[in-house]
């Protein structure tokens, strides 16, 4: 019951601060409409149907962004006493994490639908088949859960805006660009970097989903939740940040 109550308030927060949260919807649309449309002409001969190639990349981008968003949400909840109230009034740490995950997964589905609509515009109606889209949404949810878990774990450790911004700044572009989300990465030092980037494997799983990959992603999601529970149980309920 309490996780659902808190999820409702996460959405109230999103609505009250909708101008701030709008960036979570504008950013992927901007990547799709500008970056991928620009790359399409030069890459389509190597990637096959670019709309399918890039949609998988966009899902990975959204999943990774869910991690940084969750980190900020948890850091704010610890600063504003929401996490302390939740756990002191009888709520459990896994229940609190469930509220963050429910919120993040719903936002992801909203972003995914928005991306499909924008893809129709950007790729002149060329969308992947409905079964492919459904698979991508389902696999995307697993990715979101895993990434959010790691974001929550960091949010349980971060005690200042400066650290939060630093983590987001140093991870965002390198992680997103050092994986074959928008373009193939073939050879050179970037391929070596990409080999250490989870998004490289996750986007591959999205483009060619197989049984073993799905099992791996379920393990990824469970690992994320486990790390989140471990971190938050040891975190100060109320951070020192003012």
């Amino acid at each position: 019951m309490r996780p659902f109550i808190l999820t409702r308030y996460h959405f109230a927060s999103l609505w009250n601060w909708r101008t701030s949260y709008l960036a979570r919807f504008i950013e992927p649309v901007a990547y799709l409409l500008f970056l991928s449309t620009g790359l399409r002409a030069s890459l389509e001969s190597r990637t096959g149907p670019y709309s399918e190639f890039v949609l998988a990349g966009m899902v990975c981008l959204l999943a990774f962004r869910a991690a940084t968003a969750s980190m900020s949400d948890v850091a704010n909840d610890r600063k504003w006493g929401v996490f302390a109230m939740y756990t002191l009034q009888g709520g459990s740490t896994p229940g609190y994490i469930a509220s963050i995950l429910m919120f993040a997964c719903t936002v992801f589905l909203g972003q995914f639908i928005l991306l499909l609509l924008c893809s129709l515009l950007a790729f002149s109606g060329a969308l992947p088949r409905p079964d492919v889209l459904l698979t991508q949404a389902a696999v995307g949810l697993l990715l979101v859960v895993g990434w959010c878990g790691f974001g929550v774990a960091l949010g349980g450790r971060v005690d200042s805006y400066a650290t939060r911004d630093f983590v987001v700044t140093i991870t965002s572009l390198p992680v997103i660009l050092a994986a074959p989300l928008f373009y193939p990465i073939e050879g050179g030092w970037l391929q070596t970097v990409a080999a250490f980037n989870p998004l490289t494997y996750q986007v591959h799983a999205l483009r060619s989903p197989t049984g073993p990959w799905l099992v791996t992603l379920v393990v990824w999601a469970i690992a994320g939740i486990a790390v989140a529970v471990f971190s938050l149980r040891r975190a100060e309920r109320l951070s020192r940040e003012r």
Partner: protein
């Protein structure tokens, strides 16, 4: 004597890199109808005691027992903790619903009632970021008091309030006490609060100097006074 709602037994709290414990063997009981004033200078251990009773931190040794449902405990820490992205109504309602998960239907009326009592009715739909310091504090107090909990743990609730706001909070506490609720409160409004509390616990350097009914406590002063602080200073002198 009625059973204690809260019983803190021999609490010791040590912090790393500090020679002396913040609390050193503190025992406190709060019974229904008690309004307990905790008096002490800055750093005496009041907030540490409130954090332990509220469950925000764990004692190094000793035990805190809460003998009522957690849903009946309203908590307002010293630090300003309000969700800045929510409105006043949502902040108060969130606290109430987390305490009593089935209270959604009755939450609106409960929030309206506490907002009216605390003079927040005109601000209910404003987000916290637009409020003054006093309004933020009253929002936090409202969250602790919404739904009329049996026990209120209020750590310096009057900080940042103007005299009128302080009277509003104290009047509301009086009303709740008459209904049988209990409260444990620290405040620097020591002269006014003597008219509203039933017991006084004086703390210094992490130890309880005295724990007496308010009349007996004030009678310790060599001259007639209503200021809890006058007696506190005398007790502190005597303990040296």
């Amino acid at each position: 004597m009625p059973e204690a709602i809260v019983a803190a037994d021999n609490l010791v709290k040590k912090f790393p890199k500090r020679d002396r414990p913040a609390l050193d063997g503190v025992s406190v009981e709060v019974c229904p109808g008690d309004v307990v004033a905790v008096v002490g200078h800055n750093g005496a251990g009041k907030s540490t005691l409130f954090d332990l009773i509220g469950g925000l931190s764990r004692p190094t040794s000793g035990l805190v027992t809460i003998n009522i449902d957690r849903a009946e405990v309203g908590w307002c820490p010293q630090r300003e903790i309000v969700d800045w992205s929510l409105t006043v109504r949502q902040n108060i309602s969130l606290g109430l619903e987390l305490r009593r998960p089935g209270a959604r239907r009755t939450a609106r009326a409960a929030v309206d009632a506490v907002a009216e009592a605390l003079g927040l009715s005109a601000h209910l739909d404003k987000t916290a970021e637009t409020l003054s310091g006093g309004e933020l504090r009253r929002t936090q107090i409202g969250r602790a008091m919404a739904g009329s909990p049996e026990l209120m743990i209020l750590d310096e609730p009057t900080t940042g309030l103007d005299p009128e706001g302080i009277e509003v909070v104290f009047a509301y506490l009086d009303e709740r006490r008459k209904q049988g609720a209990a409260a444990i409160i620290s405040t620097h409004e020591t002269s006014r609060f003597s008219r509203h509390c039933t017991r006084v616990i004086a703390i210094s350097d992490g130890r309880v100097l005295t724990d007496l009914p308010v009349g007996d406590y004030l009678a310790l002063a060599p001259h007639r006074t209503e200021d809890l602080w006058d007696v506190y200073e005398q007790l502190k002198e005597g303990s040296r």
